[in-house]
């Protein structure tokens, strides 16, 4: 391929990405200030004049901040415990502690409902134990949302900090102690600066995830609104133009947060400069102390695993058999059988599978083209391509759902708009766009790790472009490709936030079926679907960690 042709292809890719990613978002900004009679700030004024909007904005902001603080307070110490202290069961427990990550957002929320909700296991148990007439508490409001956030997002801090700690050069710690630094000084001046990029990364991820969080506020929020739920309810009320202003506000909030984080931490890791040695583990002092840490860790692991176990348990409870008892009276695999036997229950599974597959395949295709053009050909538009691929990550799913609904609800070929809303294609398209950052990032990283000399070697050995792609490039990219594709696939498979805005009855995905089952009181079916999603996530997670273990 000539340089010129690669350059053109680069701009073609930019055009496609602008249409898919930037255009819908721009439309959101425009639609909010455009009325039937031309440009107007009426809706913006109406937005600014409503106290509920300000409350929702404020709630979003403080909940996100509190989530970062809580998740960090749990995740960072856990990372230290499992990476730096030696005690029995460390390896196994260290893996178990990351398990909240295998619960897709809605599934995690449902599990919490079954476990800590007013009719959940813990609530019933307490009620039974003390002979109370009513459930002892209600799982609702900001406290409940925060609980779910802290539980599901401390994993970011835990995994990022563990990875950073494992890369810590042991010789550096030895040098610090040889230079007379005590434990505290070493921690503050050596270890923490080394962890800074990891903590900043986890904080950003937690903040953005909280900002975009929809499942927990939707299920537990009740009257307590954050921006994501506010947008959905405004739209449900048919106030589309106000919803557009709200969407624009959330989008700007997300982009501002992103910019702020980037400014505070411009990135750049403090990788060791030498070869280094693996840091030695600190052994917990006495045998008793070690046993104590081990016991506490096991207890922690059980608490963290309770939601998963609850989900599994409830999925075996037949519909209508469990009423007031603290423990379900009977178990059967009936829910799973129903799920596969009843066409109406089976349909969402098929929908989610094909939509996620199509979206993932398309996202991988785009990522491969981007990787080749950005990393290998180094086309002039490479920064723009990378920026556009990453943009959906910074924008909450609700915003994209609204944006796509706006873009694809009008037939207007001149402005590159057509009607897709209400067709089977809108959800795969939405999933595709949401998948771009995941597949893009991993495929680009894969290309960067692939030594360009390998392709040159293949060429010098007489292999043409197709043979080089098939025999050298694709096998070399395989780990990154598989990691990116499977992660994108399970994300789409469990998607709730964009689906709830864009689905039709014929394309309803698994998450909507879970919601529907909950509403009808079919807890078992909801749990069974949740278990399926959980297993799919766990498989991807295992695949990912196996990939990392390879040299």
């Amino acid at each position: 391929m000539t340089k010129r042709r690669a350059g053109w292809l680069g701009w073609l890719l930019v055009a496609v990405l602008v249409w898919l990613v930037a255009y819908p978002l721009a439309l959101v900004l425009v639609e909010g200030v455009r009325g039937s009679a031309g440009w107007t700030l009426d809706e913006v004024r109406r937005f600014a004049g409503r106290s509920t909007e300000w409350q929702a904005l404020w709630a979003t902001l403080w909940l996100s901040t509190a989530s970062v603080v809580l998740a960090g307070a749990i995740g960072v110490p856990l990372a230290f415990l499992f990476e730096r202290v030696d005690f029995p069961g460390r390896k196994l427990l260290g893996t178990l502690v990351a398990l909240p990550a295998v619960l897709p957002p809605l599934v995690g929320v449902v599990a919490f409902l079954f476990l800590y909700g007013e009719t959940g296991f813990i609530g019933r148990f307490v009620q039974y134990l003390f002979g109370l007439e009513n459930p002892p508490w209600r799982l609702a409001g900001p406290g409940a949302i925060l609980l779910v956030h802290a539980y599901s997002m401390y994993v970011y801090f835990y995994l990022f900090c563990r990875a950073a700690l494992s890369r810590l050069d042991g010789a550096m710690l030895e040098a610090a102690s040889a230079l007379g630094a005590g434990r505290w000084r070493t921690l503050v001046h050596v270890i923490l600066p080394h962890l800074r990029p990891a903590i900043a990364g986890a904080a950003l991820l937690t903040f953005m995830t909280s900002l975009a969080s929809f499942s927990a506020p939707y299920i537990f929020g009740g009257g307590y609104r954050v921006m994501t739920t506010q947008i959905v309810f405004t739209r449900l009320n048919g106030d589309d133009r106000l919803a557009m202003v709200e969407t624009a506000a959330l989008m700007l909030l997300a982009l501002a947060a992103m910019a702020l984080f980037r400014r505070a931490d411009p990135g750049g890791s403090l990788a060791g400069v030498g070869k280094g040695t693996a840091p030695s583990l600190a052994r917990a002092g006495s045998a008793r102390a070690r046993a104590g840490i081990a016991a506490a860790s096991w207890l922690l692991a059980v608490i963290l695993l309770l939601p998963h176990l609850t989900l599994l348990l409830v999925s075996f409870v037949p519909v209508g058999t469990w009423t007031t008892e603290p423990w379900p009276p009977e178990f059967s695999p009936g829910n799973y059988a129903a799920l596969f036997a009843e066409p109406e229950r089976f349909r969402p599974l098929v929908n989610s599978l094909w939509m996620a597959s199509v979206a993932t395949a398309a996202a991988v295709g785009i990522a491969l083209a981007a990787g080749s053009l950005v990393v290998r050909r180094r086309v002039s538009a490479r920064r723009l391509i990378e920026g556009l691929l990453g943009l959906p990550w910074a924008v909450p799913g609700t915003v994209f759902a609204i944006a796509l609904a706006a873009l694809f609800s009008v037939y207007s070929p001149l402005t590159l708009r057509t009607v897709l809303v209400g067709t089977v294609w809108i959800l795969p398209l939405a999933y595709l766009i949401r998948n771009l950052p995941i597949t893009g990032r991993s495929v680009l990283a894969g290309f960067r790790q692939l030594d360009p000399a390998l392709e040159e070697a293949a060429a010098s050995l007489g292999a043409g472009r197709m043979r080089t792609l098939r025999r050298i490039v694709l096998p070399g990219l395989a780990p990154a490709l598989v990691a990116g594709a499977t992660l994108a696939f399970v994300t789409s498979l469990g998607d709730f936030v964009t689906s709830i805005m864009l689905y039709t009855y014929d394309t309803r995905p698994i998450s909507l079926e879970i919601l529907g089952s909950l509403r009808q009181g079919d807890m078992g079916v909801a749990a069974a679907y949740g278990v399926l999603l959980m297993i799919a996530s766990a498989m991807v997670f295992a695949l990912g960690s196996r990939g990392e273990a390879r040299p």
């Binding site: 070697a457 060429a459 292999a463 043409g464 043979r467």
Partner: protein
Amino acid sequence: MAFLELSGLTKNFQSQRAVDGLSLSLERGEVLALLGPSGSGKTTTLRLLAGFESPDAGTVVLDGRDMTALAPVARRFGMVFQHYALFPHLDVGANVAFGLESRGVKGAELARRVDEALTLVDLAGFERRPVANLSGGQQQRVALARALAPEPSVLLLDEPLSNLDPALRERTRRELRALVHRLGITAVVVTHEQEDAFDLGDRIALLRQGRLEQLGTADELYATPATAFVAAFIGRASEVPATILSDREARVESFTWPIRWGGPGAPVSGAPGRLLARPEGLRLADAAPSRLAGTVTGRRFTGAVAYFSVETASGLSFEIAGNPAAAREGETVGIEASGAGLHLYPAAG
């Protein structure tokens, strides 16, 4: 006519001129070493030869056929990469077979030729080993076998020894040299190590800033360096200012020393010059009024010979080879010039 001919090769990267009008020619079966400091354009020259870069000007002609516009795939040049570029997901046999398969070799013939290539580098029976499990030296030999298996017309080697530790490096160099000469293959080796170039190259092209500084055998480069840069880059030499007297003599401080005039052009008597003195071109002697005097500031012992650092009162410093017992540190000595190994050039102007 030469077998491989590079004429007027020029390559710019952005505003940087990496290779600047380079012309070289190789006879069939000749091994040419491209030597030079980093940034001298030697790797770019090799990549122009391989076709990974296309020149802004100039041609590459092989056996009368212009290859300049040909893609790497079509050139049939074998290449050994600096970090070997072995395909990590293929085993040793599949790596070596890769180039043969490109040429349509199949079945028993393929197995036979893979075995042949591996036997050549002393790795017979290694076919099914994963490449990641090999030592650095073995990986280097697999890379060599892979490049040689399709019987290329020219073998290109990019710093083939730079990833090996010193002990292994010397042995591998000897084996590589023996193999290349036994096969009689035309080869171009890029290296920044003088020893590698001396050992592997029938002739050496010393490059500097993309230009050819001197082309010749190792002996020629050492004994008659064409420029002060060559004299300083090849072998060891102390550089001091001197006054040009004739094409046989120069004055260092107030003493007249015999020299070899390096050029360019004729010497201008009385003009300032740069003297590059090899350690063996100088001798330690007793301090005497007729000799340049200096103090021994250091002594590097290598066995049969020691190298003495000697500094004069005016601040000139020399490295002088001698009998290890010739002097002690701190001693005042006289410096005597023996004539051979003292190269004089006009001062850069």
